[in-house]
C-alpha cells in the first residue's frame, strides 16, 4: 500500500478518517468543525449534484438563490423551528474591522454593530417563506417549485468529515401548494427521487419511512426519510423530505385566493440532501485498501497503466492505448493513461485502489504482442486477461456490472443485518451487534426516549407500506400495530 490505512476491524472510525484524508477527498480546516472538500471529493459531489439537479428539473423544479443571512427575528416566527436550531446558530453581530488602537492587528469595530443580529442560515424555510409572501397571491401562482443549492451552517459540537460538519453543502427544495394533498404528494415524490438516486447512483439500498415525532424536522408536520445501513451496521439518514403543513405559511402569513374565491394559507414542503452523502458512499462500500466507488459517481472510471522498459516500448503502448482513451471518452467513460515514468506500476496500482477507481487496465509488452490487456476490477479485486479487441465494449459492460454488483452486495449485507425481535432481553443483546432491529413500539415518545437512554438506539423510521400486524411493544409491552426500525445511527 502506498499509504497506511487503519483496518475496519481495528478501528472503524479511524479507518473512515484515514480513507477520507488519504484518498484526498477532504481535509481539516483551521475553522472549528469546517472541512475543506478537496478536488477528488468535490468531483464526487459534482456528479451527485448533476444527477439530482437533472431529476429535480425533470420533476418541474427550478433553481433560485436566497440570502445567506437570516434576521434573528425571522427564525423565531415558527416556534418549534427556533427551538430546534437556536442552539447551533452562527451569529453575525458586526460589519466592520478597524485597526486596533491599542496595538497591532485588527479588531471588530464596536461602532459597527448591527441593529438586529443576522443568523448564518442553518436552513432557509424562514427567509424563503418571507419572500413567498410577495410572490404568492392567487392559486395561479401555485404550485411554486423551487430548489436552492447552498452552503448552510449548524454549530455542531461533535463533527466528523462529511458526516457532520459545521458548514456543509446541500440542496434544499421549498415548495408551496394549494392543498394539503398536493403537498403530501410532493413530499412523497421527492422522497422517491432521493431513494431512487441513492439506489441507482450510490448503489445504496435505503428504507423509505417516516420519522417519529421525536425525530421530526423542527417545524414539520411529518418528516419522511431514507435510511441506509453502513458496513458497521449503524444507520445513516441519507435524505429527508418534510410535509410542513401550513406552519410556515401561518408564521409568515402567506395566503392565496383559491379558485373558489377564498383566502387560504398555503401548504408547504421542504426536502434536502447534503455532502453527507459522500460520507455515506465511503462507509457503505469501501474496504481496507481504500475507496470503492460506484461507476456512476466515480470521477475517474478507468486507470490505464503501461508496463514497459524504455521509451520505445512506451511509445508502442501509447499508440495503442491513447485511441482507447478517446473511444471511451466518446462513450462518456473517463479514462486516464498514466504514463508518468517517475512512479512504478505497483505504486500506481495501489494509488488507484486507494482512490477507488472502478476499473484498472495494465498492458505490458507481452500483452501488446498477444493482443491482450489485463483488466482488474476494484469492487471484487479480481483480475484477468482479455482480448484488446472489443475492450471498450467489455469495459462498458463491466462498469454496469460493477454498479449492479455493489448494489447487490450492499443489499444482501443490509437484509442479513435486519433482525426481528419481540423481547427486550434479545433487543439488548442484538443492539450490541451490527445491524438494525425490527420491533414493535407502543407509539409513545416516552418509550422512545427511554430506549434511547438505555441503548443509544433511536427509531430510524416507520417504514412506508409497513405490514400491519398485532404485537406488543418490545419495551413496554403495550399493544402495537406495526414494527419500526431501531438502530444506532451516525
Amino acid at each position: 500500500m502506498a499509504k497506511e490505512i487503519t483496518s475496519r476491524e481495528a478501528d472503524y472510525s479511524q479507518w473512515y478518517n484515514d480513507l477520507v484524508l488519504k484518498a484526498g477527498l477532504a481535509d481539516y480546516s483551521p475553522v472549528r468543525g469546517c472541512m475543506v472538500i478537496k478536488p477528488y471529493g468535490f468531483g464526487i459531489w459534482e456528479k451527485m449534484q448533476a444527477a439530482l439537479d437533472k431529476r429535480f428539473k425533470e420533476t418541474g423544479h427550478v433553481n433560485a438563490y436566497f440570502p445567506l443571512f437570516i434576521p434573528k427575528s425571522f427564525l423565531s416566527k415558527e416556534a418549534s423551528h427556533i427551538e430546534g436550531f437556536a442552539k447551533e446558530c452562527a451569529v453575525v453581530t458586526h460589519y466592520r474591522l478597524i485597526n486596533d488602537p491599542n496595538g497591532k492587528g485588527v479588531i471588530v469595530d464596536p461602532e459597527a454593530k448591527l441593529e438586529e443580529e443576522l443568523i448564518v442560515r442553518p436552513t432557509s424555510e424562514t427567509i424563503i417563506w418571507n419572500q413567498y409572501k410577495n410572490w404568492i397571491q392567487s392559486y395561479r401562482d401555485l404550485p411554486l417549485l423551487i430548489n436552492q443549492w447552498a452552503n448552510v451552517v449548524r454549530w455542531e459540537m461533535r463533527t466528523r468529515l462529511f458526516l457532520r460538519t459545521a458548514e456543509f453543502l446541500w440542496q434544499e427544495g421549498h415548495t408551496a401548494h394549494a392543498t394539503a394533498q398536493e403537498a403530501i404528494e410532493e413530499t412523497e415524490k421527492m422522497l422517491d427521487v432521493y431513494a431512487q438516486f441513492a439506489e441507482e447512483y450510490l448503489a445504496l439500498p435505503v428504507i423509505r419511512g417516516k420519522k417519529t415525532a421525536n425525530e421530526r424536522f423542527a417545524g414539520a408536520v411529518d418528516t419522511y426519510c431514507i435510511e441506509a445501513m453502513m458496513q458497521d451496521g449503524q444507520a445513516l439518514q441519507a435524505g429527508t423530505s418534510h410535509f410542513l403543513g401550513q406552519n410556515f405559511a401561518k408564521a409568515f402569513d402567506v395566503q392565496f385566493l383559491s379558485k373558489e374565491g377564498k383566502q387560504e394559507h398555503v401548504w408547504a414542503t421542504s426536502w434536502g440532501v447534503s455532502t453527507r452523502l459522500v460520507g455515506a458512499l465511503i462507509m457503505a462500500h469501501s474496504d481496507d485498501d481504500g475507496l470503492v466507488l460506484p461507476p456512476k459517481l466515480a470521477p475517474l472510471h478507468v486507470a490505464i497503466v503501461p508496463i514497459h522498459k524504455g521509451e520505445e516500448d512506451l511509445n508502442k503502448l501509447r499508440e495503442r492505448l491513447i485511441p482507447l482513451v478517446n473511444e471511451l471518452k466518446a462513450r462518456g467513460i473517463v479514462a486516464k493513461l498514466d504514463d508518468d515514468d517517475t512512479k512504478r506500476p505497483g505504486f500506481k496500482f495501489a494509488e488507484y485502489e486507494l482512490r477507488g477507481v472502478p476499473v484498472r487496465l495494465a498492458m505490458g509488452m507481452r500483452d501488446y504482442e498477444a493482443g491482450t490487456v489485463e483488466v482488474a476490477r476494484r469492487d471484487t479485486k479480481t483480475k484477468g486477461t482479455v482480448p484488446f479487441e472489443g475492450i471498450a465494449d467489455h469495459i462498458s459492460a463491466l462498469l454496469d456490472e460493477i454498479q449492479q454488483n455493489m448494489y447487490n452486495k450492499a443489499l444482501a449485507f443490509r437484509d442479513s443485518h435486519i433482525r426481528k425481535t419481540d423481547t427486550w432481553d434479545e433487543f439488548l443483546k442484538l443492539i450490541e451487534e451490527p445491524g438494525f432491529i425490527s420491533a414493535h413500539w407502543d407509539g409513545s415518545s416516552e418509550t422512545e426516549d427511554k430506549i434511547k437512554e438505555l441503548t443509544k438506539a433511536t427509531i430510524r423510521c416507520i417504514p412506508i407500506n409497513n405490514p400491519q400486524e398485532d404485537g406488543k411493544c418490545v419495551f413496554s409491552g403495550a399493544p402495537s400495530k406495526e414494527r419500526v426500525i431501531f438502530a444506532r445511527a451516525y
Copy 2:
C-alpha cells in the same frame, strides 16, 4: 405593455431596477444589501456557470470547496489585503441563541462567544493559502489549479441588484506555480477565458487591460481586467485576473522544493467573475420594452403562441406545434408552446418581450392553412411570415444571427463612444457625455486621484498591446508613452 417600465431616457437607473424586478430576475430581500435571485435570473446564471466551468476544466482546473469562515487573524497576514477588506467584513462573534430571560423571543447567548471572531469570506485567498501550505511540498505538487464556486460577502454601503450586493455568487480561481513566468501566463490565460466568454456568450465586447496601482486587488502585484461599456456609456468591470506574486505564499509560508533542490516561495494567481455579469448583460443590451437576451444565455429561446378561437382550432395548432417543440429540443433549443387559454396573445407577446426571449412564433388559422408561421425576433423587433416547412433550420440560423447581431451592435456602440482627447478642457466636456475617453496619463497615482476627484472618472485600464506613442498627460502635461481608458464606472 404588461408592466410599466421607466424608459432609459427618463431615468436609466430606474429603468434598470424596473427591468430586474419586472422581468423576474431578482427581488429585494429583508437583509440589507442582499438580493434574492429569482428562478429566471438564476437560469441565466446557471448558463453562465456551465459555460465557464467547461472552459475552466478544459484549461486544466478542478473544483474544490473551502470554508465560508476565515479566522480574523488570517485576513491580517497579508498587509494590503486586510487594508482592502477590513471595512466591509461581516463578523461572526457568537455561536448560539437562547431564550431571552427577560422577555419573549431569543437573544444571542453571551456565554457562547467565540475566542477568535470569524469573518464571512469576502474572498478566499487567505483560507486557501493556509491550506496550500499543507498540500505543496515539492515542484511535483505544482501547478495547483483550483477553482471554487461560492458565495462571498462584502458589506457594501451602496448596493444595487446584481451589480453590487452585500452577498454575491461568484467563482474564484486560486492557482499555485513554480515560477513567476508561469503564474503570469496563467493570469493572462484566464483573462482571455473571461474575455472570450464575455464576447461569445454575453455578446459583450470588452477591453482587456491592466489596472493602475490605485485600482489593484488588495494583495496583488498586478490586476488584469476586462472592461465593458454599458448603454449609458459608463464602464463596468466584468472580470479580473490577478498575479499575486509571492505575497500570499510569504504570508502563509508556502514553500516548495524546486527541481534544483532549493526551497522557494510559491507564485500565485487568483481570478473571478460574479453574478454582477447578469447586471452587465441587462445594461448592455436591453431596451425600453424589456430584456434582450443573447441566445447563448437565454433560459428560453423560442416562445410559441397559438392564436385560435375554441378548442378545435387549438388542437389543430397543437398537433403541428408540439412536434416542433420536440424537434427544437433535440437541437438543444428550448422552446415553449404557450397554450394557456386564460391570457390573450397580445399579453403573451408583451410578456415574452419583457423577458427577452430571442424568438417568438405565432400561428393563427390563416397561417395554419397556408403552411406558414409568424416569426418575431426580439433584438431588432422585426417580424415576418415564413414557411412552416424547414422552420427548425430557420430558427437555428436565426438564433446564431441574433447572437452575432447583438455583439456587432454592442461593438459598434462601444467603438463610436471611445473618444481621444489631448486637452483637459475637452476632457471635462467629454466626460459629461456617454462613453470612454482615451487620453495620456503621467503614470502617477496623484494625477489619477485628482482626476477622479474633479470628474468622478477613473482609469478603467491600461489596454493590453497598447500602441506606444509620445504624448503629454491630459491633466499634468508631464510626458507619457501611452494612452489609458478613462470613464465613470459602475
